[in-house]
């Protein structure tokens, strides 16, 4: 992704004159803050996207997927950013997200 680029300069001569943002925090992979990882059991999932709705990062993407006639999208945890807060698991109405211990 374009805006995940890290911004580099050597010093005063090529940096901006003030603290102005030039890139997105997408460079910052907060996935490494996580000690618990949400795992969606798509078998149980009812594709309500409540998990997506309540993710504070947001690190649940809506991806195309032909699940059924009426359902053409699915929630996918973006592990690059998911901090493992567990809200998605807590709020999932069918409890189909499990928080598992993160491994090295």
């Amino acid at each position: 992704m374009a805006d995940e680029k890290e911004i580099k300069w050597t010093g005063v001569k090529d940096m901006p004159p003030m603290a102005v943002s030039l890139g997105s925090m997408r460079v910052n992979k907060t996935g490494n803050w996580r000690n618990l990882r949400p795992v969606i059991d798509y078998e149980k999932c009812i594709y309500c996207f409540i998990c997506w709705k309540f993710c504070p990062e947001p690190s649940i993407d809506i991806e195309a997927a032909q699940i059924s006639e009426r359902v053409d999208k699915k929630p996918v945890i973006n592990l690059n950013y998911c901090k493992g807060c567990g809200i998605c698991a807590e709020e999932c109405p069918v409890k189909c997200i499990e928080m598992v211990k993160e491994e090295i």
């Binding site: 805006d3 911004i7 901006p16 603290a19 102005v20 943002s21 030039l22 890139g23 997105s24 925090m25 997408r26 460079v27 910052n28 992979k29 907060t30 803050w33 594709y47 996207f49 997506w52 709705k53 309540f54 504070p56 990062e57 947001p58 690190s59 809506i62 009426r70 359902v71 053409d72 999208k73 973006n78 690059n80 950013y81 901090k83 493992g84 807060c85 567990g86 809200i87 698991a89 807590e90 709020e91 928080m99």
Partner: protein
């Protein structure tokens, strides 16, 4: 398949909010509704950090980081600057925590409100100074522990009622909202977009480290706050017309709300009863005001 809130994401992940941060969710929702033609004024608060360090940002729209007391005044200046350059459309948002709103930024907010300057003031309320590590603010509720209201001397003053203070200013629109009810929240932002003058949106935003609550419960707590009448969801037009948006039919006890939060764990049953009564009384009062508005 229909989503209950807009799909577009203006805010990006990678930001520096804690796990389970209510303030991050609040921002996400507001931006979803406002879109990209907006400029933010953000004083010192968790969001000064959440957005990310130089040279990065996660908010996705222009943001002016500013001194703690100045959210509203800077917003007034931004609006005036845009207008004189013939841009009437870009919306201006002052985005501040409870400390920056109830305490150190109150005067600037009051000034802007009296002038009825045309911007949206959003206070995400986590009920203490969180960015500096959980100190009492005047938004801290009665009974809560913070590092400056130690357990032995927990906060003995009522939470300052910012909404009534602003109602006294007779600004065109005031509303409360909860991150547990994003649809309601977004509906309010949509309404705000149609109103000229000073608009105030007060969002209850749980904070796991500050509330000493598990991160996964942030949304739940924001719901319990509403359902226990601790944080009623309503709106006020022109400072006098009240409307409760989420009527609490079967309230849960405040105890249910307080219990998962470490900051309240020292409270006795009597203390909890006190909180219950205060919540009930205020809700009653609101109902009366609503009634009065409909007369």
């Amino acid at each position: 398949m229909k989503l209950s809130i807009p799909e577009r994401e203006i805010m990006s992940p990678g930001h520096l909010a804690c796990q389970g941060c209510g303030a991050a969710l609040a921002m996400r929702y507001v931006l979803k509704s406002l879109g990209k033609r907006v400029i933010y004024s953000v004083p010192a608060c968790c969001w000064s950090v959440i957005d990310g360090p130089f040279p990065y940002s996660s908010i996705g729209v222009p943001l002016f980081h500013t001194a703690f007391e100045t959210a509203a005044a800077v917003a007034s200046g931004i609006k005036a600057g845009l207008e004189i350059q013939n841009d009437e459309e870009t919306r201006v948002v002052a985005w501040a925590g409870d400390g920056g709103t109830f305490d150190i930024g109150l005067q600037a907010l009051s000034g802007a409100a009296e002038r009825n300057d045309d911007f949206i003031y959003v206070c995400y309320d986590n009920e203490a100074y969180m960015n500096t590590g959980i100190q009492r603010s005047s938004a801290t509720p009665w009974g809560a522990w913070t590092t400056t209201t130690p357990v032995k001397h927990f906060k003995k003053e009522r939470k300052k009622n910012i909404v009534e203070i602003l109602a006294a200013h007779r600004i065109p629109y005031i509303a409360t909202a909860s991150i547990a009810y994003p649809e309601d929240l977004i509906k309010k932002v949509e309404k705000i977009k149609t109103i000229k003058g000073t608009k105030f949106l007060h969002i209850i935003s749980p904070c796991p480290p500050g509330w000493k609550s598990p991160p996964e419960l942030s949304v739940k707590l924001a719901k319990l706050a509403v359902q226990s009448k601790i944080f009623p969801i309503f709106e006020i037009e022109n400072g006098i017309k009240y409307k409760i948006n989420i009527h609490v039919k079967k309230p849960v006890s405040v105890k249910e709300y307080l219990k998962p939060q470490g900051r309240f764990k020292h409270l006795t049953d009597q203390d909890i009863e006190h909180i219950q009564q205060d919540a009930d009384a205020y809700y009653e009062w609101l109902l009366k005001q609503e009634e009065l508005s409909n007369e």
